[in-house]
């Protein structure tokens, strides 16, 4: 049997077949697979919409902050008023109930109930 001599023998082909019209269709198939063109990357600070949003955000924050503090003082007033309204319904017995001995001593001192001169005057008056 003749020996194979690849250098000198006619080329032995691969035997591979390619389906008809394969290459005619390939171009479109590949183009359809390509990713969308990347958007140009712009630094955030250069974008107009970011500036407009930033200004709007600062504006809203300012209004919000002002409104918040405005509301707080109104609330304090309202709370105080509520307290005063509420306190009108408190009886003296209730007040006395809630006072500590220390509170009572302080109040009495302030009123001068332990003033010896006054005590002498009262005793004299009673006797």
């Amino acid at each position: 049997m003749k020996k194979f001599d690849l250098h000198n023998d006619p080329k032995i082909e691969t035997g591979f077949k390619i389906p008809e019209n394969y290459f005619e269709n390939l171009e479109d198939r590949i183009m359809n697979q390509l990713p969308e063109q990347e958007a140009r990357v712009v630094p955030l600070w250069q974008r107009k919409t970011v500036w407009y949003s930033g200004v709007a955000a600062i504006f809203m924050l300012s209004i919000g902050t002002w409104m918040y503090f405005n509301q707080q003082s109104n609330e304090i007033m309202a709370t105080s008023q509520e307290y005063l309204a509420y306190s009108n319904d408190i009886t003296t017995e209730e007040i006395a109930y809630h006072l500590t001995d220390e509170d009572i001593t302080t109040i009495e001192k302030e009123l001068g109930l332990y003033d010896t001169e006054s005590e002498t005057y009262v005793n004299e008056y009673l006797n």
Binding site: K3, F4, D5, L6, H7, K11, I12, E13, T14, G15, F16, K17, I18, P19, Y22, F23, L26, E27, R29, I30, M31, Q33, L34, P35, Q37
Partner: protein, 180 residues
């Protein structure tokens, strides 16, 4: 070279990119198809790998430095994609790359996209016994008829080493053909 520089510029310019890339596909689809098919053997697999190759080429055009010819850069991508394909298949199946190739060879005869005769099939089997790199050298020289200088750019091996590799590959194949 100047033509290639111009062409690369067109490929990178968003305005001309699509048309330029279509031309690239038309010019290189056949040689790249043949190159991939000699590696993966089966038409459907070749189709998958070839599409991946062109998509990768498109995505990496901006990284092409021009220190090699465009075609050798593309061939390198195609070679890598084909080898990666085989390795991934091997990993998924839990077998070696050589076993993947063996399976592909065994399916070749029954393949609708193959009409090789006994000798052609025997040659494919003979090439499969070679180490991976040597297989590539043989296929690119024998089947694709690539010049050694171009092969050197694609494979990153000296012309001398490639010639030696091819010489030894032929010897081994002839021995296989003459004894089987």
């Amino acid at each position: 070279m100047q033509d290639e520089k111009q062409f690369i510029a067109e490929l990178l310019n968003p305005k001309t990119q699509n048309e330029a890339f279509r031309k690239l596909v038309r010019d290189y689809q056949r040689p790249l198809y043949n190159h991939v098919r000699t590696i993966v053997l089966n038409h459907d697999d070749t189709d998958d790998v070839l599409q991946n190759t062109f998509v990768k080429i498109f995505q990496n055009l901006k990284n092409f430095k021009g220190d090699s010819k465009l075609f050798s850069w593309m061939y390198r991508i195609a070679t890598n994609e084909a080898i990666t394909f085989i390795n991934q298949r091997a990993r998924k199946a839990g077998i070696s790359s050589e076993e993947v190739q063996e399976k592909a060879l065994n399916s070749l005869q029954a393949d609708v996209d193959y009409d090789g005769d006994e000798i052609q099939l025997k040659l494919q089997k003979a090439v499969a016994i070679l180490p991976e790199k040597q297989q590539l050298v043989f296929k690119m020289k024998y089947f694709e008829e690539m010049k050694y200088e171009d092969m050197s750019e694609v494979l990153g091996t000296s012309v001398g080493a490639l010639k030696a590799s091819y010489f030894h590959a032929v010897k081994k194949i002839e021995e296989f053909l003459n004894t089987n």
